[in-house]
Symmetry: C2
Subunit: 135 residues, 2 copies
Amino acid sequence: MPRLTIGDLAKATGTKVETIRYYERIGLLPEPGRTGSNYRSYDEEHLGRLSFVRRARDLGFSLDQVRELLGLADQTDRSCEAVDAIARQHLTEVERKIVDLTALRDELAEVIERCNHGTVAECRIIAALAPVPAG
Amino acid sequence: MPRLTIGDLAKATGTKVETIRYYERIGLLPEPGRTGSNYRSYDEEHLGRLSFVRRARDLGFSLDQVRELLGLADQTDRSCEAVDAIARQHLTEVERKIVDLTALRDELAEVIERCNHGTVAECRIIAALAPVPAG
DNA sequence: CTTGACCCTCTAGTGACTACAGGGTGCATA
DNA sequence: TATGCACCCTGTAGTCACTAGAGGGTCAAG
């Protein structure tokens, strides 16, 4: 089994070294063994676990959700109901964010559209923000 | 001119009291006068300024952007080019976020779709995260 | 034997708040 | 007059998910 330094692991997973140490500190990744000179020493299992974390993060799961998913992934003969629930909850959140941002975009676009490129005093963007016409 | 306590201002703008103090601390709002018992005392101008900040925040501008917009709003006879630029830049960011989140939603939905509600070992959601089939 | 790339720990910073802890003030009510 | 409650004050620390830096040790190549 080949041994990896933290830098190797970082390269293999597209993670910064500091982030790996951070994940270890918060208990998301297990403490690896150490070499004689106190360097962290990883194997394939660590690589798999970190890859899991990164893929889940790329899908927008929070670290708490990733922690839960990791815990569930180990209990292979349980029903995957809980996994499904976490994923669906996350999907709902993402969909809500899209709705919110879309409304925001429309409002912003409208405000910008109205700008006649004159002075600040006449600016519709500022007017849209200010509660009174600067009296 | 009616005087407002920080609580009045909070109610009038839908802002938490702590947030108003925070805005003052970071120099986004001017330090108000104080009463004999050291309570902050606000007037209509403070109300206008905080309303401006909140509307800009609701439109998703960062505090740094709000600071810039506030500075620009005071120079009424300048061209509103800079205002327009900030707003357009923000719009671009919002649009990029929508694109990213939409791609994310599609990927998540696909992963969830494939879940056959069996055991964790067979779970397609976990499989989509794990790099190897748990060998 | 020195240079440079890597590794270590520990601390503090980011954005935009939020939440205490530990006090003081003001007003109404019994 | 006491007391209770809602409000105000300062200051500090917590949130999330990292990121950056200080100040040092290790290792391989030339």
